[in-house]
């Protein structure tokens, strides 16, 4: 082992692997190799055996690696050497992994034919390898999305087991991880496949991951899906109603009681991947004030974009007057709803906003109304925004590039929640509710903080948790997904995720608990 004594305080060479870890890495890589070979259209027969073997090797490798890493250790925080390892500290392995993942996503989204997708014919390559599994589940041949979904689920399950092992002293972490593993396997993977199997003469359900709520699922209310649901009788109608209720009724209620974590770190598929396979990259999120400023504008811009795009798309088919809901009625409903939300927030919550937030909000609401106006009165000659352009631009820029290629491909460089933090419009809505109307907060424990920085470092959302904890202030932030890792890594028991009354939810203290009461009363009263 070489020694870089002059580099810095952290000049230790890469952590060496133990025997178990090495063997596990070989096993997992062998599984990946089979998949890689299949891409080059090598005939692997029998397919069922090769596919099963490959998946077992990948999952087995990951789980074995976890066992080799954690089973001999006492239960507790396992962050030794995180910043010495190439993969978790933006070293060579991180870049190679990032490039590999990014390349995979580009193929997946834009060039599935290289993966072996054949329209109107038998698949080849890696997609053909997955045909037997797809046929067993849905009765149809595989698509690139089926390959992706299978691997996605496999990775969440295997890395989920690793995560549970790593945090075996924390029941919160274990239960939360079992939850994301369950929702991915059932709701995202199996149920839609079975639904496809049920489709026939009477039933024509679109592919629908029921936990995938608009606006994360930005295409949920596109015409072909709505038509399919309406044509599928009561079940289809129930799905359509559920889709609308998810965002307008279920989401606000659950977020009020539990914060946005009920979705982001317990149910969501993107969150599930980030929390399991992305766990070793959580420390890479940028905690600077600058990053936070970018984040606020970026995520809310995406939200405005998706609202405009969806309204426009839905209006474009409702205005044909072929549906129960009229186009103009729909536009007016959207305008009224947005006005109500805007008015309510500005009247009751404005004291919580700084000036830049108010300016941003007013600017964005005006922008939305202008766009809605343009749609209502297309004859004005200002038809800048074509619905189809909007839809395809959103799909390309946000749906594919941001959430897929950057969101996941760049895990090893920017951390595991880049998409959730800077881009996800669903997270923006839930965060808005969480910040203004929720019982959830992270409580700070009196004066016990030692400003060590573990909480901020391991916050995947890039929240500077310490900045609050050392002031004795509860953490009430729209971006917090409630993963609970800040609380887990705190060496002094300072942080706790809680649902409690709205009163005193935010409680800045100039002088922390521990000093004499008079001084505290003086300083706090002075405000």
């Amino acid at each position: 082992m070489s020694l870089d004594q002059n580099m810095s305080v952290t000049g230790r060479s890469a952590e060496s692997l133990n025997g178990g870890q090495k063997t596990a890495a070989v096993v997992g890589m062998a599984g990946l190799l089979i998949l890689a070979i299949s891409i080059f259209n090598v005939q692997l027969q029998p397919q069922v055996m090769w596919l099963t073997g490959s998946l077992i090797l990948i999952a087995g490798g990951i789980i074995w690696y976890a066992k080799a890493s954690y089973s001999g250790e006492t239960a507790g925080i396992k962050n030794d050497g995180v910043f010495f390892k190439s993969i978790s500290s933006r070293g060579l392995w991180a870049y190679l992994t990032g490039i590999g993942l990014t390349g995979f996503y580009i193929l997946l989204y834009f060039y599935p034919e290289f993966l072996g997708l054949v329209k109107n014919g038998d698949n080849t390559g890696i997609i053909a390898l997955f045909d037997p599994l797809s046929k067993a589940l849905s009765g149809n041949p595989a698509s690139q999305w089926f390959v992706y979904g299978t691997l996605y689920t496999l990775v969440i399950l295997a890395f989920g087991i690793k995560f549970i092992w790593k945090y075996r002293h924390s029941r919160y972490q274990q239960i939360r991880t079992i939850s994301v593993m369950f929702f991915q396997t059932s709701f995202a993977f199996l149920i839609p496949e079975f639904m496809a199997r049920l489709n026939g003469d009477k039933l024509n359900l679109p592919y629908y991951d029921l936990k995938n709520i608009w606006p994360l699922n930005y295409y949920n209310f596109e015409q072909y899906r709505v038509d399919a649901m309406i044509s599928s009788g009561d079940i289809g109608l129930a799905f359509l109603i559920f889709g609308v209720a998810s965002i307008f009724i279920i989401t606000p209620i659950l977020t009020y009681f539990y914060g946005k974590r009920w979705y982001c770190s317990w149910v969501c598929g993107c969150g599930g991947l980030a929390e399991t396979s992305g766990d070793c990259f959580r420390q890479l999120s940028d905690k600077s004030l600058f990053a936070w400023r970018v984040e606020r504008w970026a995520i809310h811009s995406v939200l405005v974009f998706v609202v405009v795009m969806t309204t426009s798309v839905v209006y474009s088919y409702l205005k044909t007057d072929l549906y129960w809901l009229q186009g103009d009625t729909f536009l007016w409903s959207v305008a009224i709803l947005l006005t109500l939300i805007f008015g309510w927030v500005m009247i009751f919550k404005r004291h919580q906003f700084k000036k830049d937030v108010k300016i941003g909000a007013i600017g964005y609401i005006l922008l939305i109304f202008v766009v809605l106006g343009l749609h209502a009165y297309p004859n004005m000659g200002l038809f800048l925004l074509d619905t189809e352009d909007l839809r395809s631009t959103y799909g390309f820029l946000i749906g594919s590039i941001f959430s897929g290629v950057i969101g996941t491909g760049f895990y090893p460089i920017f951390g595991n929640r880049v998409w959730c933090r800077f881009g996800c419009p669903m997270a923006a809505i839930l965060g808005f509710q969480q910040r203004l109307f929720s019982k959830f907060r992270i409580t700070t424990n009196g004066g016990q903080c030692i400003s060590c920085g573990n909480c901020s470092t391991y916050c995947e959302m890039g929240i500077d948790v310490r900045a609050y904890a050392q002031k004795g202030e509860n953490i009430v932030r729209s971006s917090c997904v409630g993963c609970g890792i800040c609380s887990a890594v705190c060496p002094r028991g300072v942080l706790n995720l809680e649902n409690d009354s709205l009163k005193d939810r935010i409680n800045p203290k100039d002088v922390l608990l521990g000093n004499d009461v008079d001084l505290m009363a003086y300083v706090n009263a002075k405000k």
Partner: protein
């Protein structure tokens, strides 16, 4: 606009500076020879362990100081000339002040052991110490064994650090049991067991005789006083406590004892000179507190207080109930109020102790044997709410109340197994009257 100079950029000095800035427009200069920017001393260990990088343990981004008009001066103060209100630095530069706050912290104790200044020997206190450890104990090949002298909070941190890189560790502890001068026997015993679980060679009831050098003047082994045994090693950590780092004040007019002597307003014998944090020695300690408190929290609290005084609102250091916390390898420890080990117990102090039959979790409550007044609690492996215990101690609740209401004080994460009932039943068994 007065110029307030602060010697030391640790938690005490930086807290003082921040609160002065909040309350005034005075010119502020923070002086440090150790680092330019404030960092969390308690987090040094995590940099060596690879949990964090250096930048992570700085609680404020580097632009913070400019933005808040807090000047940072890197330099070593050699002399304090209180007559001319001037500081003289090792590089011969000077700095005039109107008011001076001494917040220079501690230095590791060395008790005159032969070989204590050899290469490969250090404390675990400063950034420079951390660099020394990194140099002599980078990995198990370069460092076949590390020996740690002293079994306290820093000793066990250092042991955890070296173990994180698979370096074999021997700990020489003077007491019969780990940190037994502070922890009651049963708790101390539980930590002994946990130290062994981490494959640390824990030697109890032994003292260091000397550190032996190789031909290059680097430590190669230590000799144990009681057994005469030589333990070969490549690095020796001296962690037998700390004491105020005040050698540079010798020869000044400022009165010192163990630390810089201060009254309850944190004023020294010289007008306009104050001392806070680890280096201050209270002439009238509050309650059971020792005159010198070398704890993060007390440093912070003194910083808050001295800032009030400097901004024209003379305020006494009057800390509320004692609290502290630490982490022993995997076991978190919190304490509220006072729980003394047998040797420091007053005759009236009695303890109720509960330990989980398998897990390394325990609770000790101390109380007055006649009035049954609750005096304090130590918890291991269970998080408790500071606010609740502060309130109960102020309200002078009795132990029966505390045990029956323990649930209110629990601060463990959701879904964690709760032990209040177990504690209650054990308590009931012991005291039939509840």
């Amino acid at each position: 606009m007065q110029h307030i100079a602060i010697i030391g950029n640790g938690i005490a000095g930086v807290t003082a500076a921040r609160h002065i800035r909040k309350n005034s427009d005075d010119k502020i200069t923070i002086i440090s020879a150790e680092t330019k920017h404030f960092f969390s001393r308690t987090a040094l260990m995590y940099v060596y362990m690879g949990h964090m990088k250096w930048s992570h343990i700085k609680p404020y981004e580097d632009w913070f100081w400019d933005k808040n008009r807090i000047n940072l001066k890197q330099g070593y103060v050699k002399t304090v000339d209180t007559d001319n209100k001037q500081l003289l630095f090792a590089d011969k530069s000077t700095l005039d002040y109107d008011k001076l706050v001494i917040a220079c912290g501690s230095k590791p104790n060395k008790f005159g052991w032969p070989g204590q200044d050899l290469d490969g020997v250090s404390g675990m206190y400063s950034k420079q110490d951390l660099e020394t450890i990194e140099y002599y104990a980078p990995n198990p090949k370069q460092c076949k064994r590390g020996v740690i002298v002293g079994g306290g909070l820093i000793g066990i941190e250092l042991a955890e650090m070296l173990r994180s890189r698979d370096i074999p560790v021997t700990m020489l502890v003077r007491e019969k049991s780990f940190w037994n001068g502070v922890l009651p026997d049963a708790e101390s015993q539980m930590i002994n067991e946990h130290i062994l679980e981490h494959h640390i060679d824990l030697r109890l009831g032994v003292n260091l005789k000397c550190i032996n050098a190789d031909e290059n003047g680097k430590a190669k082994s230590v000799t144990v006083k009681e057994t005469g045994e030589d333990i070969e090693c490549d690095y020796v950590g001296l962690t037998a406590g700390v004491s105020p780092n005040i050698d540079f004040l010798k020869g000044s007019n400022i009165e010192t004892g163990k630390g810089v002597k201060v009254n309850k307003y944190l004023e020294t014998n010289i007008e306009n000179v104050y001392a806070i944090g680890d280096c201050a020695e209270q002439q009238e300690p509050v309650g059971n507190r020792p005159p010198v408190e070398a704890v993060w929290y007390t440093g912070r609290m003194m910083g808050e207080v001295v800032a009030q005084t400097l901004c024209g609102r003379k305020t006494a250091y009057n800390p509320s109930h004692w609290f502290n916390s630490a982490k022993f390898l995997d076991i978190e420890y919190q304490t509220y109020g006072w729980v003394f080990p047998k040797r420091h117990c007053e005759a009236y102090e009695k303890h109720f102790h509960w330990r989980h039959p398998e897990k390394k979790i325990c609770v000790t409550l101390s109380y007055h044997k006649d009035s049954r007044k609750f005096l304090g609690i130590n918890t291991f492996g269970i998080r408790m709410r500071h606010e609740v215990f502060d309130k109960w101690l102020s309200e002078e609740r009795d132990i029966d109340y505390v045990v029956t209401h323990l649930k209110q004080a629990n601060f463990d994460p959701e879904f964690f197994k709760r032990y209040e009932k177990d504690v209650y039943h054990a308590y009931q068994k012991q005291f039939v009257e509840v």
